[in-house]
C-alpha cells in the first residue's frame, strides 16, 4: 500500500462519517466570517430556529465593504448606505449569536485571510472554511482550507460539518530556488500560466520543492491564496520549521504543554515519501521570471520581458476568441511589449499581497524615489490593523507617503472595489490582487496582476519594468 498525501491525512483525520453514496461528512475546525457572504446564513439559522453547533469555532471581521480612508465616524460614517447596512448586519449577527468579531474600529480588524493566521486562529492540521474562495490561503499552514458558498456557511454554523466528496491529489513541485526579485506571486502566476485557470479543478493541490520550502509563511500564503485561480479549491504546503516558528506565540495558538504536544503532532503533516498523486506538475525555479497578466483571466500571463500575444498565431478557436476579446477589453495591441503598457493606478494590497513582507518589498523599491507624475493614484492598503501598526513601527508608511503613495486603513479595498476604492473606465492598474476579470476593480477597469515589488517599480516608472533591473539601477 502506498503512503498518504498531506491531503489524504487531513481528510482522514476529519472524516466523521463515510456515506454509502460516496459523500462524506467532514468536520470543520475553524470558520471565518465576513459581512458579504454571511447575512443570509444567519437568516437561515433564525428561520429554521437552529442553534450554532460550536459557536467558539468561529471568528469574524468585516473586510470587503470597509472604507480605507477616515474611519473616525465608525460604521455610521460608511458613505454607501448598502455597504453600511452589510457591515452593521455582521456586527448585529455576531452580537446576537455570541461570535467573536474584530469590528471595524478594532485594531485587529482586517482581511479575514490575513487576520486568521496572524491571530493563530489558523493552525496546522485544521480544516478551515470561509464564505470566500481565497480561503485556500490557509492551506499554507498544512491545513485543509477552502472557500464555500453561503448555504455551506449556514451548514457549518449549524452542524460544524460539511458534506464533501474527496478530491483528487495534485502535486506541483518547483525544483530549485527562484532568482532574486522573483516572489511567491510570480511563482503562482507562472503555475497558473502553465496549467490554466481550470488546471486544478477537482484537485487538492500540494505545493512542494525547494522553490516552495524557501518561502516564508507570507509567501506560502500568497501561493496558496491563488490556488483557486488555477481552479483548485484547496492549495497546501507541508508543515516545517518555518510554519512552527510563525505560529508560535500567536493569540489563539496552543501554549505550554499543549504547544509541545501540538508541534509533535504537526510533524506528520507532510506527504509520505511513497504517496501517490493523481497528477504531478513540475517547474524549474530558475526559469521563473517576474510575471505580469495582460488579459482578463489569471492564466493570461507572461514574463515582464514578454509581449502581448497575437491571436493570429493561436490555432485553438476558443482560445483565439478569448485572446481577441481580452485585447479589446484591455485596450492592448498584439505583440506590444509588456513594458510599454502605461498605467493609471497602482494597488498594493488584498488577501494575496498585503502582509508585512509584501509591504517591505514594495517599500524597498520606492524608497527615495517618486511615483510617476502620469499616475492618478497609487494605493497601499495593509491587510490588517496589526500589519499596519507593524509597518508604521518600521517606518514603511513614511517611505510610501514620501514617494507619493497613499497609506490607507486595512480592508479588501480595490481588489474587488466593493468600497469606494475603484478604477475608472479604461484605466490600467498594476495590482497585487488575485483576479483580473472584467470589471473586477471597477466598471471597465483594466487589471494587471503582479507582485508587490513589481507594482512598486511600475508606480515609479509609470509603466511596467523588470524589478530585477530596477533594483540594480539598469532601468530608465
Amino acid at each position: 500500500m502506498s503512503g498518504k498525501t498531506l491531503y489524504d491525512k487531513l481528510w482522514d483525520s476529519h472524516l466523521v462519517k463515510q456515506r454509502d453514496d460516496g459523500s462524506a461528512l467532514i468536520y470543520i475546525d475553524r470558520q471565518l466570517l465576513h459581512e458579504v457572504t454571511s447575512p443570509q446564513a444567519f437568516d437561515g439559522l433564525r428561520l429554521a430556529k437552529r442553534n450554532p453547533w460550536r459557536i467558539d469555532a468561529n471568528l469574524a471581521t468585516p473586510d470587503h465593504n470597509v472604507p480605507t480612508t477616515d474611519r473616525s465616524s465608525g460604521v455610521d460614517g460608511i458613505a454607501d448606505p448598502v455597504s453600511r447596512i452589510q457591515v452593521k448586519t455582521l456586527d448585529e449577527n455576531c452580537d446576537e449569536f455570541g461570535i467573536v468579531e474584530f469590528k471595524m474600529l478594532d485594531h485587529r480588524q482586517g482581511i479575514v485571510h490575513v487576520v486568521g493566521p496572524e491571530q493563530g486562529a489558523t493552525l496546522p492540521g485544521m480544516t478551515v472554511v470561509c464564505g470566500d474562495s481565497h480561503t485556500s490561503t490557509h492551506g499554507a499552514f498544512g491545513a485543509l482550507a477552502h472557500g464555500i458558498g453561503t448555504s455551506e456557511v449556514e451548514h457549518v454554523l449549524a452542524t460544524q460539518c460539511l458534506v464533501q466528496k474527496k478530491m483528487k491529489n495534485m502535486l506541483i513541485r518547483v525544483n530549485g530556488s527562484v532568482g532574486p526579485g522573483v516572489t511567491a506571486k510570480d511563482i503562482v502566476l507562472a503555475i497558473i500560466g502553465k496549467i490554466g485557470t481550470a488546471g486544478g479543478t477537482g484537485y487538492a493541490v500540494e505545493f512542494a520543492g525547494q522553490g516552495i520550502s524557501d518561502l516564508s509563511m507570507e509567501g506560502r500564503m500568497t501561493l496558496c491564496n491563488m490556488a483557486i485561480e488555477a481552479g483548485a479549491r484547496a492549495g497546501m504546503v507541508a508543515v516545517d520549521q518555518t510554519t512552527i516558528d510563525y505560529v508560535k506565540g500567536r493569540t489563539y495558538a496552543p501554549k505550554g504543554e499543549l504547544w509541545e504536544k501540538a508541534v509533535a503532532a504537526w510533524s506528520d503533516l507532510h506527504s509520505d515519501a511513497d504517496a501517490k498523486f493523481d497528477a504531478i506538475v513540475e517547474l524549474n525555479g530558475a526559469d521563473i521570471k517576474p510575471q505580469v497578466t495582460w488579459g482578463t483571466s489569471p492564466e493570461m500571463v507572461t514574463s515582464v520581458d514578454g509581449t502581448v500575444p497575437n491571436p493570429a498565431r493561436e490555432h485553438d478557436a476558443v482560445k483565439k476568441e478569448a485572446i481577441e476579446r481580452a485585447l479589446v477589453y484591455m485596450g492592448l495591441t498584439p505583440d506590444m511589449a509588456i513594458t510599454d503598457i502605461k498605467l493609471d493606478r497602482v494597488f498594493i494590497g488584498s488577501c494575496t499581497n498585503s502582509r508585512i513582507e509584501d509591504l517591505r518589498a514594495a517599500a524597498e523599491v520606492v524608497k527615495g524615489r517618486k511615483v510617476a507624475a502620469t499616475l492618478k493614484q497609487a494605493l497601499v492598503v495593509p491587510g490588517s490593523g496589526l500589519v499596519k501598526a507593524q509597518a508604521e513601527q518600521e517606518g514603511l508608511d513614511k517611505i510610501f507617503v514620501e514617494a507619493g503613495l497613499e497609506w490607507r486603513e486595512p480592508g479588501c479595498s480595490m481588489c474587488l472595489a466593493m468600497n469606494a476604492d475603484k478604477l475608472g473606465q479604461g484605466e490600467h492598474c498594476a495590482s497585487t490582487s488575485n483576479r483580473n476579470f472584467e470589471g473586477r476593480q471597477g466598471f471597465g477597469g483594466r487589471t494587471h496582476l503582479v507582485s508587490p515589488a513589481m507594482a512598486a517599480a511600475a508606480a515609479i516608472a509609470g509603466h511596467f519594468v523588470d524589478v530585477r533591473e530596477f533594483l540594480s539601477g539598469d532601468a530608465n
Binding site: 458579504v36 472557500g147 460539518c161 489563539y252 466593493m418 473586477r440 466598471f443
Partner: protein, 217 residues
C-alpha cells in the same frame, strides 16, 4: 429547497468559455443581505451598457442589444447552455441566486468551477455536464432553431432534444437525491448528530488544542 425533477424549456446560449462569477453577478450587488432580487442584475455588465447600481430600477437602463438574454428569441428561457469552466472565480452564492431569480433552473456545460458547481445544488439548480462535442452540437441546434427547447430529466439523468436525441449525464447520488426531493441537507446532516458528537469526543483526546475556544480578549 425547491425540488428538481424534469425541466422543459427554452435554451439560452452563453457562447463564451471561463464565464466568471464577477460576470454572472458583479460585486456591487453582493451588498444585499437578501437571497432574492438578483435576477435583474444577472450578467449586468454584459446585459446593460451603463454601470448598474444596487436597488436601481433597471427598466430604463440602456440594453446591450447584442447580448443573448436581450434577444427576443431567448425570452422566457430557463436552461442556460454554456462553455467550459463556467462559474470560475469567487465563492459567491449570489451567482446561482441570480441565475435562479432570473429563471434558470439548469445549466449545461462541459465543465464548471468546483465551488459554483456545488452552490448550484444547494439552490435547486441542476448543473449538467456533457462532453465538449455534445455541447457544441447543442449550441449549433440552439442557434439554428428559434424557440429551441430541451427537456432535462434528472431521475433518468438524460437531456432530450426536440427530435428525440438523448444525452446521458452523471450526477452524484447524494446530490441527485437532495434535488429530486427538494431536501435541506442541514436537516440530513443533523440526523448524524450522534456521529458528530462521537467524533468530537475522540478528536478532543488526540488534538485538544483544536477545541480551544475563540474568545474575546
Amino acid at each position: 429547497m425547491k425540488a428538481f425533477t424534469t425541466l422543459k424549456g427554452i435554451v439560452a446560449p452563453m457562447d463564451r468559455a471561463n464565464v466568471d462569477t464577477d460576470m454572472i453577478i458583479p460585486k456591487q450587488f453582493l451588498k444585499s443581505i437578501k437571497r432574492t432580487g438578483f435576477g435583474k442584475n444577472l450578467f449586468d455588465e454584459l446585459r446593460y451598457l451603463d454601470e448598474g447600481q444596487p436597488d436601481q430600477d433597471c427598466a430604463n437602463r440602456p440594453l446591450n442589444e447584442n447580448f443573448v438574454l436581450n434577444q427576443s428569441r431567448y425570452q422566457g428561457s430557463n436552461i442556460l447552455l454554456a462553455r467550459q469552466n463556467f462559474g470560475c472565480g469567487s465563492s459567491r452564492e449570489h451567482a446561482p441566486w441570480a441565475l435562479d431569480d432570473y429563471g434558470f433552473r439548469c445549466v449545461i456545460a462541459p465543465s464548471y468551477a468546483d465551488i459554483f458547481f456545488n452552490n448550484c445544488f444547494k439552490n435547486g439548480i441542476l448543473p449538467v455536464i456533457l462532453s465538449e462535442s455534445d455541447v457544441d452540437l447543442l449550441f449549433k441546434e440552439t442557434f439554428a432553431t428559434e424557440g429551441y427547447q430541451l427537456e432535462v430529466r434528472l431521475a433518468e439523468q438524460k437531456v432530450v432534444t426536440p427530435d428525440g436525441k438523448e444525452f446521458g449525464f452523471e450526477v452524484d447520488a447524494f446530490r441527485k437525491h437532495c434535488l429530486l426531493n427538494g431536501l435541506d441537507d442541514i436537516g440530513l446532516t443533523l440526523e448524524d448528530a450522534d456521529a458528530i458528537k462521537a467524533y468530537e469526543v475522540s478528536r478532543r483526546q488526540e488534538a485538544p488544542w483544536l477545541f480551544d475556544a475563540i474568545q474575546a480578549s
